[in-house]
Amino acid sequence: TPTDSKPDCSKPEVFCVGLVTDVGKIDDKSFNQSTWEGVKQAEKDLGAKVQYIETTDSKDYAKNIATFADAKYDVVVTVGFALGEATVAAAKKYPDVKFIGVDQTQSETIPNLAGLIFPEDQAGFLVGALAAQMTKTGKVGAVLGTDAVPAVWRFGEGFRAGAMYIKPDIEINVVYHNDVGFDKTFSDPEWGKTTAIAMIDKQVDIIFGAGGKTGNGALLGAAEKGVYAIGVDTDQYYTVPEAQKVLLSSAMKQLTPGTFDLIKLAKEGKFPGGNFTGKCGYAPYHDLDSKVPAEVKTKMEELQKGLIDGSLQTNVAPVKP
């Protein structure tokens, strides 16, 4: 976006939203990008002036946040748990600026900082239960990014818990992508696909792919081999069209609406400090709707209700112990 008319964010009538990534890029077609789309929606719907900065090195965290805060931006979105501490520090330093920390759990409540968090374990639990009901071989698999990222851990272990809840003796293959550099774990689709196919070769007939592009690779592997696949984060029916014919559902974590909702609250002066829980759930069955038996559908709705009202617990630790 050209810079010709730089907005003066200090003016009250000018509403500015800035976004800072951790080491990721804004065009990662996944986590950062979904959040950025929430910001873009604010540009469209709320008339916000939006801008982003991509961090290339963790030593720039504070500086990059300060770049927005010093320019009197109204809202600064920091994406990723790695930015958590820098965001808390900035929130204290700039009380007039609203901060949204995506995937950052808050231990204390700072009025101008909202941690946008998601119960990924519930989404994972739901699709795990779905997989356990749909498998014919009694073997299900999950291909995931690194378990060092709590969200991924919760998806993966939620999946395990959900499957076990339905069928305690089920064979569950959960593979985390730990064997490369941290920044690679979400962008190694080739590994995801290879791993998924290796699972399928061992009669696994449902693959849950969760972990950015790595997970997408797993969905593609499933599509190629013609076994059911389950996506993650958004309804991947729309983001991985190659897998549409096998995509059973997706474990959803609604980043874009979550981000947008918080920005909207900030604009309306109703900004909540502390933790703000976004929505999780499972996506529609789309093309496979007819293949899912009615009793399975009923069971799924039942489980979701139980998770929401708290009568059903996933018992997944929030982070890898």
């Binding site: 080491v23 090195d57 500086k63 748990f81 920044d183």
Partner: protein, 377 residues
């Protein structure tokens, strides 16, 4: 003839030194200029405004005291890592492994920095700071000693081996930071170590800026490296091995030992880059930090003509570019990858200086850099 020469020797030497200094810097300077121009064309082709971009770059790197301070913060690890690569080059070794040595050095410095207090060892800062820094130096040295030893003993090529050591360091670091060395503060979810003790930290020079004593240390180390290379017998041996290993053997130098020593010192410098980042800036080691320093260091060493003074200048330039990138992106939303392109172009024009000489019609011939001698073995 000898008479005539004696009388005229002292004066021309100073101006000769100056002139040769200028000549040495001429091609790198033009290489930087050319890279900036080509980079500007790329920006323009992509629909951006190169002038706004460069203005943002300069504003972000030198536009304020804080910007300058941040530039030195960026330049500090570059100086150490650049010296590491340059030192290897002087000894005829291409150390692509600065990245892994740096990471390993940082991990070990962090381990000492937070580990000793956990074990109940309570040290005053005068002891603890140097100890922590030295832990990184030793770790980096060991990490480089392995490929050095493989080269000296078996002729295994250091380029491939240092690259492999990078991957090994990455795996081991991932393992440590996700497992045994993970910060187990219940709030932490990041793959990182706990904070190092207060008494293991290098302080900043002025209260409100991150400009720290590690930068001053880097300058001193640059002087030390210059002294070692050009003023000591060890440096003479290293340069001899680097220029003509056969003649070095003839002259009684133990070539294998010098290869190992060169790698160890090179690795130690890279390790120091890591330990200074831990002790003076981050106070811990975190996964994902320090990606790409190894490659940047190669460009810096070559741009600085493998001379410590050149390395310092090149580090400041690269540090300024990396630091200014934030402001450039904030102002223009041009992707930061353009910085990588410019850096690659600088390296290209420095390495293939014939291109620059051709463009600017420069006739002064310099000795070509010959570093590699096949794959060995």
């Amino acid at each position: 003839m000898a008479e005539k020469e004696k009388t005229s020797s002292s004066q021309p030497r100073i101006s000769g030194w100056l002139r040769s200094g200028l000549n040495t810097m001429l091609v790198p300077a033009l290489a930087v200029l050319t890279a900036m121009i080509v980079g500007g064309i790329v920006i323009a082709l992509a629909g951006g405004n190169p002038f706004a971009a460069y203005a943002g770059l300069i504003e972000g790197s030198f536009g304020s005291l804080n910007a300058i301070s941040e530039t030195t913060v960026w330049a500090t690890p570059y100086i150490f890592a650049g010296l590491a690569v340059a030192f290897g080059f002087k000894g005829g070794l291409f150390n692509i492994g600065a990245e892994g040595q740096l990471a390993f050095g940082a991990v070990m410095a962090a381990l000492v920095g937070y580990g000793l207090p956990l074990m109940g060892v309570d040290l005053p800062a005068v002891v603890f700071v140097p100890l922590t820094v030295v832990a990184g130096i030793i770790a980096g040295g060991i990490w480089a000693a392995i490929p050095g030893w493989l080269k000296a003993k078996f002729g295994g090529h250091e380029v491939i081996n240092t690259i492999m050591m990078n991957y090994i360091a990455l795996n081991i670091t991932s393992y440590l930071l996700n497992g045994p060395m993970k910060d187990n503060n219940p709030l932490n979810v990041v793959a990182r170590t706990p904070l190092i003790a207060e008494s293991a930290r290098i302080s900043t020079v002025f209260p409100d800026y991150r400009f720290h004593w590690g930068f001053i240390l880097a300058l001193l180390v640059a002087v030390l490296i210059w002294f070692i290379l050009w003023k000591t017998t060890l440096g003479f041996e290293i340069r001899t091995v680097g220029t003509n290993p056969d003649a070095a053997r003839y002259a009684g130098v133990n070539v294998s030992n010098i290869i190992i020593i060169t790698m160890v010192i090179s690795g130690a410098l890279a390790g120091m880059a890591g330990s200074i980042e831990v002790t003076a800036l981050n106070y811990r080691h975190e996964l994902g930090f320090a990606v790409g320093y190894g490659f940047d260091a190669i460009a810096i060493a070559l741009l600085g003509k493998n001379h410590p003074a050149g390395v310092v200048l090149a580090s400041l330039l690269f540090g300024a570019m990396r630091n200014g990138a934030t402001r450039m992106q904030f102002n223009t939303q041009i992707p930061v990858d353009i910085i990588s392109i410019i850096q690659a172009l600088i390296l290209l024009f420095v390495a293939a200086d014939a291109i620059v000489r051709y463009i600017y019609h420069i006739r002064i011939q310099q000795d070509r850099l010959v570093l590699t001698r096949g794959w060995g073995g």
